[in-house]
């Protein structure tokens, strides 16, 4: 089990209960202490960018949504923004407000979800159950607005597909007050509970310098005191009209340590911010059409003629997401599409965070950047034309069964 240098390797993943998604990190351990971490992404590559380059923009919207089911709003929002930028289509202002409300609702759901997952990773299932129980409320609201709990299909190029009408306001307000009433409890659990503090304080530290150099994004770096938030820095949708400020721990009287605790703090405080932003949006919502081009056949024609490139940047619950789209005249499909999700940038921040920590901290540190592997791994390609053998017949299966255990030692589950 131990070599001469007393270190040994334990691969975590790709199928591992701590990671709900396929992802692998190879750890070199000395006893229970991590001396090296080497992430191996790519298990979830589905070649989405490539698929997108062979489909027209309207077909890509549901595809972009399925880059990730937790941040399904993020990618459709950014994709449509990038296409609008490239084709010169203006969405209506009401659509911008509805997009903002949806994005903030998703932030609430995502952060509450994260809190539950984090509790689960440190073996505190009670709080997993508690947070997911209260998360159902915003899921109900999202389902009420869009017609589905997870994939919302709200976006289209030039606007949104469903309106948030006046009779929906009470239900939104009801949800917001529900979260406000429960917020102190949530904070009490995640910031006050001694056994959670024991597991999150001074664990997985990312310094401000490292955060900036490694181009980290979102709550991961804001917890280290970096002021980076696309919603404020470079306002998109309706954020330019709203009042909001950077959420960093020092604003609330904590130190900007960048450990798991401050990341939790930032995420929880963002829930409050989201509630406030949704209220502002509902108050200021202009009375307009929700879609600048309701005739989709006409829109498709317009997009076919468009020529240009556009980018979309957005502050997803996990940090900045980025889409680059290029349209070519006469080509119905996208000419180029580059998706960059938050986890892609935050991947590099794993190395300093894992160093010197324990095996027991692997799940919580892995979870503390709120990894979204589905987002990150969107593109993979394996050649079919070379006709590599990838099928297994019964003989191969038998051989596998003989070899598997040998591999289990060196490889992973």
């Amino acid at each position: 089990m131990s070599d001469k240098d007393t270190t040994y390797q334990v691969p975590i993943g790709p199928i591992h209960p701590a990671l709900k998604e396929p992802f692998m990190i190879n750890f070199r351990l000395d006893g229970e202490t991590i001396v090296d971490a080497d992430p191996h992404p790519g298990m979830n590559h589905r070649g989405i960018e490539f698929m997108g380059m062979h489909r027209n923009p309207l077909k890509v919207i549901p595809l972009a949504e399925r880059i990730c089911g937790i941040c399904s709003i993020v990618h459709q929002h950014m994709f449509t923004t990038a296409v609008e930028h490239a084709a010169g289509i203006e969405p209506t202002n009401r659509a911008r407000y509805i997009r903002t409300i949806m994005a903030e609702l998703e932030r609430i759901h995502s952060h509450v979800l994260w809190a539950g997952v984090a509790a689960h990773e440190i073996g505190f299932d009670t709080h997993l159950h508690f947070t997911w129980k209260i998360r159902e409320k915003v899921m109900d609201l999202l389902e009420f607005i869009t017609g589905n709990r997870v994939n919302y299909a709200m976006w289209t190029v030039g606007g949104v597909r469903r309106d948030i009408t006046k009779d929906m306001y009470p239900k939104i307000e009801d949800t917001l007050t529900y979260y406000e009433s429960l917020y102190t409890k949530l904070e009490d659990i995640f910031l006050g509970d001694p056994s959670i503090r024991l597991r999150t304080k001074d664990i997985g530290i990312l310094t401000k310098e490292e955060a900036l150099r490694l181009c980290g994004v979102g709550p991961t770096v804001r917890a280290s005191g970096v002021k980076k938030d696309v919603r404020i820095d470079q306002p998109y949708a309706a954020y330019g009209d709203l009042e909001l400020d950077y959420i960093i721990p020092s604003k609330f009287g904590y130190e900007n340590t960048g450990d798991v605790f401050s990341k939790t703090l930032v995420r929880l405080k963002e829930v409050v911010q989201s509630i406030d932003l949704i209220r502002q949006c509902v108050d200021q919502m202009p009375d307009e059409d929700i879609d600048s081009e309701p005739k989709k056949a006409v829109l498709l024609n317009k997009l076919k003629k468009a020529d240009g490139e556009g980018i979309g940047r957005l502050e997803a619950p996990r940090g900045e997401a980025f889409h680059y789209v290029r349209l070519k005249e006469g080509r119905e499909e996208l000419d180029n599409w580059k998706v960059r999700a938050s986890t892609y940038n935050n991947l590099a921040t794993y190395a300093p965070m894992f160093m010197g920590e324990q095996i027991a901290d692997i799940p919580i540190i892995a979870a503390c950047i709120d990894p979204c592997i589905g987002c990150m791994d969107r593109a993979v390609v394996v050649d079919v034309s070379t006709g590599q053998k990838t099928d297994y017949d019964h003989e191969d299966l038998h051989k596998l069964s003989v070899e598997k255990t040998k591999r289990m030692l060196g490889g992973s589950l």
Binding site: E21, H45, R46, I67, W132, V150, G374, V380, V382
Partner: protein, 147 residues
């Protein structure tokens, strides 16, 4: 493979994400939490395929995952039931034309493995429970309890 009545009342589930978008995965976790609570049916999420009775697959199989998926299938002791959650696992869904995808999960399974398909994109947690119900019905039919 002998099936007894208790088998369907104590289904231990191992969840494999073979390249899905997370949509179904969070709905699976949601099914475990208080609102839906599948533990009342004796269903439990376990950490190792060795302990599992049901393999819950989400997503199409990506090339890099195929090997692992096969290994998980083969590490699971018999008798076992496979549940495919979501449309991309059953027919590749929206990822139909990527060559990074090695097809839906049912093409990789050994002949005769019982499969339950749960349709939806993603499915609601209730539909998952409905899928479990279908599995019960199927298991009862297998051992001839379907009077």
């Amino acid at each position: 493979m002998k099936l007894t009545k208790t088998f369907d009342k104590a289904l231990w589930v191992f969840h494999v994400n073979s390249g899905s978008c997370n949509g179904c995965d969070i709905e699976i976790v949601a099914a475990l939490t208080p609102r839906y609570d599948v533990e009342r049916f004796g269903i439990k999420l376990v950490g190792s395929p060795r302990h599992a009775d049901v393999l819950l697959f989400t997503g199409p199989v990506t090339r890099k995952m195929k090997d692992r998926v096969l290994r998980v299938i083969e590490q699971t002791p018999d008798p076992k039931v496979v549940m495919v959650v979501g449309n991309c696992g059953s027919t590749t869904g929206v990822f139909y034309d990527s060559y990074a995808i090695d097809g839906p999960i049912d093409t990789l399974l050994p002949e005769g493995t019982p499969i339950v398909y749960v349709t939806g994109c993603p499915t609601r947690p209730e539909n998952l429970i409905n899928g479990v119900k279908e599995a019960w019905l199927f298991l009862e039919k297998l051992r001839g309890d379907d009077k």
